[in-house]
């Protein structure tokens, strides 16, 4: 059931006068993963231009951060990319710790890595599940959410919340691990490995799914680098770039894991299927990291390094972490007081969304859903 990619068609202008049609995939749409407005300029069924309109979820995070003290900003960072809150908190905590120039205990580092990797699996499960649901397969969506419930209950046991944690604080953590956490996490790791195989059987290698997503939305590597894409989108286009290996922070250099890269297994390198498959493989790699971290977990006190009052010296810092959606960067300027002077966030979904226009040219309207799902945006992060 293969067919030629539509990029090489020649648009033949008939003698009849035609004009471009503008179609609006409005802010309320079941498949745009939030409130995103896409203005499509169509010529027949083929798309000539896509203009995303954002800002429907803007909540002035950066302005709020200037009025809060450093520990009070953490609940706000949770709410940016609400599907990967641990990653947001991690980035902020690492940034402020760099400003303050403090060292956190090793136990804190290991627990932060475990939480970030569990969060990565949870976030990818949402991405894969909703992608399947957009393409039409409703069942993998529920299977992914069932597995995600197990991760959320692990988080609930540790810090009390399922989605917005306020757990990773500057200098440490809010609570130490629950005594039963290690056992339950090991159970989860054994439980989850066959579930990835089940997801592959049901969705990844399904011929209809492959036909919908391969050779669609091909992102060439040079375009990706020019646009500043990061995360699974960049790895799907063939480049082995992961901040956990190329710019290590925390204790990632102590773990042995692989970086999955899109190879064009079914279709071309950099199409939607490659990005989807990179996410599936990343879940397996995260399981490896969690196992190693649980084995190496040292004892210690998680709140010993938390300063009583956070008043960093005057200065600025930029740190970046590998969020499930890409490279999350925090640029913090401190003027010596208890409130930050400026907190600027480089949100990965915001940058990744910019390449939608290039990806969608020449495709049909039905492919936009597939392409948007593979970019995997979260509007909370795009708009902040």
């Amino acid at each position: 059931m293969s067919f030629e990619t539509k990029k090489n068609i020649t648009v033949y202008k008939p003698a009849v006068k035609t004009e471009e049609m503008i179609l609006n995939m409005g802010p309320q749409h079941p498949s745009t993963h939030g409130v995103l407005r896409l203005e499509l300029q169509l010529e027949g069924e083929i798309i000539t231009k896509v203009i995303p309109h954002i800002g429907y979820l803007h909540r002035c995070f950066e302005k709020h951060a200037e009025a809060m003290t450093y520990p009070q900003v953490i609940p706000y960072t949770d709410r940016m990319d609400y599907l990967a809150s641990m990653g947001n908190e991690f980035g902020y905590a690492v940034a402020v710790e760099k400003l303050l120039n403090i060292q956190v205990p090793e136990r804190v580092e290991y627990i932060r890595v475990i939480m970030a990797e569990l969060q990565r699996i949870a976030s990818h499960l949402v991405a894969l599940g909703t992608y399947g649901a957009d393409i039409g397969a409703m069942t993998p969506f529920l299977f992914c959410f069932r597995d995600r419930e197990k991760i959320l209950s692990l988080f609930e046991m540790t810090c009390g919340a399922r989605l917005l944690y306020n757990y990773i604080w500057v200098g440490g953590l809010s609570h130490d691990l629950h005594p039963d956490f290690v056992r339950q996490t090991r159970d989860f790791v054994t439980y989850f490995k066959p579930k990835i195989k089940e997801l592959n059987d049901l969705l990844t290698y399904n011929k209809i799914f492959i036909d919908r997503t391969s050779n669609v939305g091909i992102l060439p590597l040079d375009t990706a680098i020019n646009f500043g894409i990061s995360g699974p989108m960049l790895r799907g286009s063939g480049l082995k770039w992961d901040l956990r290996k190329d710019d290590p922070y925390s204790v990632y250099h102590k773990f042995d894991f692989d970086i999955p890269v899109g190879e064009g297994k079914v279709g071309t390198v950099g199409d939607c299927w490659d990005r989807y498959y990179v996410r599936v493989l990343e879940m397996g790699e995260s399981l490896k990291i969690i196992e190693q971290a649980l084995d190496q977990l040292p004892e210690g006190d998680v709140s010993s390094a938390i300063p009583k009052r956070i008043k960093p010296p005057v200065g600025q810092v930029y740190t970046r972490v590998e969020n499930p959606r890409g490279e999350l960067g925090y640029f913090i300027i401190s003027d010596g007081s208890v409130n930050p002077f400026r907190v600027k966030v480089r949100a990965p979904s915001f940058v990744n969304l910019g390449v939608m226009d290039v990806l969608c040219r020449g495709h049909m309207v039905a492919d936009i859903i597939a392409i948007l799902g593979s970019v995997d945006i979260v509007l909370g992060e795009v708009d902040r």
């Binding site: 059931m1 067919f3 179609l23 995939m25 079941p30 498949s31 399947g132 649901a133 957009d134 393409i135 039409g136 397969a137 409703m138 069942t139 529920l142 299977f143 069932r146 049901l202 969705l203 399904n206 209809i208 799914f209 036909d211 919908r212 049909m364 309207v365 039905a366 492919d367 859903i369």
Partner: protein, 356 residues
């Protein structure tokens, strides 16, 4: 059959026609009540959840609750709609489906009307559905409903071709279009069913088995496309651009579309089972024969017929909750590049086998 019986009983042809028309309607209504519940429960259990549980024991009254809700809804109709067409469309869609029930053999004693061109009539009258869908799309006065309706019409019309070719294949073996006779020919045990070669014998039968299997798969796939079920449900897809030809309908008219969809599912499953799997014949012999009670046999046949129909409806639901959706051009490519050539080759080979 039933019709002639009632004509003799009542003496008036029109009255007899009306009375004969009632049992299939009752059957459809009861079946739809059951099928909607079954779909929700099957989809729920496949997804590791429970489905409706609060309305009655395990939710079996859920469909009645939905029906009451739909009846009391406001019947919205936009001012720019084409009113006569708007109101007529759901009726036509349902009528096309209901009319097909006239020629389906429920048991050896009950068949609405024993047409000599049974299967030909069924395929012809289901063409009304296409007209109904186009009317629904047009009169909604909505660009995207029109698009959805046209896609749906194109889909149904294209997929009728492999259906007809496979039907011709079966007819070549049985030499009759009459569904009642066709079912009678498959009497005996399941070995005589069409899918296993029919009431032929010897080398011919063995040669026919793989070809009949292929024919069965082709006709089942085409029938899935006829009823707009996933993986062919572009017209109804919620996550594609808009919701298709029945977006603008609310209340009872929407309920008619819904009813027509499930009735169509059963009609199509019934046709497939009548053609290939022995219709109302039992695979293992009759209890009536065992207990020497010949009046029991038609009842058993009705039970077997419903069981086979429900099984195929269940398979349709199973496919819906497993597979993603095909894109429109892939759908057309599937029909014209894969199903039709294979069905043709099938036809030619079966024809050669029956002739030689």
């Amino acid at each position: 059959m039933m019709y002639d019986f009632f004509v003799d009983l009542l003496g008036n042809e029109i009255l007899a026609a009306i009375v004969t028309g009632v049992p299939p309607l009752v059957f459809i209504l009861v079946f739809v009540l059951f099928a909607v519940w079954l779909e929700r429960k099957v989809s729920a259990h496949m997804q590791d959840r429970l489905g409706p549980m609060r309305t009655g024991w395990h939710g079996y009254l859920q469909t009645i609750a939905d029906l009451i809700k739909l009846i009391q809804k406001e019947d919205i109709s936009a001012s720019a709609n084409d009113k006569p067409l708007f109101n007529l469309a759901p009726v036509l869609v349902f009528a096309g489906t209901y009319a097909a029930f006239a020629a389906i053999p429920f048991s050896s004693y009950y068949i609405g009307s024993n047409l000599d061109l049974g299967i030909f009539f069924i395929i012809g009258i289901s063409g009304l559905v296409v007209a109904g869908i186009l009317m629904a799309g047009w009169s909604s006065n909505n660009k995207y409903s029109m698009l959805g309706a046209m896609r749906s019409a194109a889909q149904i019309i294209s997929y009728e071709i492999p259906t007809i070719i496979v039907v011709l294949t079966v007819v070549m073996i049985t030499r009759t279009l009459n569904l009642h006779t066709l079912s009678e020919m498959q009497t005996g045990y399941f070995w005589n069913w069409m899918i296993f070669g029919g009431p032929t014998a010897g080398l011919e039968k063995f040669l026919l088995i793989p070809l009949m299997f292929i024919g069965f798969l082709i006709i089942y796939t085409s029938m899935l496309a006829e009823v707009n079920r996933t993986p062919f449900d572009i017209p109804e897809a919620e996550s594609e651009l808009v919701s298709g030809y029945h977006t603008e309908y609310s209340g009872m008219k929407f309920a008619m579309f819904f009813l027509a969809e499930y009735a169509n599912m059963f009609a199509v499953s019934a046709i497939v089972s009548a053609l290939f799997l022995g219709g109302y014949q039992s695979p293992i012999g009759y209890l009536g024969n065992l207990f020497d009670a010949p009046w029991l046999i038609p009842v058993e046949q009705f039970f077997w017929f419903t069981a086979k129909g429900t099984f195929f409806v269940f398979v349709q639901m199973w496919l819906r909750w497993t597979l993603p959706r095909l894109r429109v051009d892939q759908l057309m490519a599937l029909c014209w590049k894969y199903l039709i050539p294979i069905a043709f080759i099938n036809l030619i080979i079966v024809g050669l086998i029956t002739v030689l």
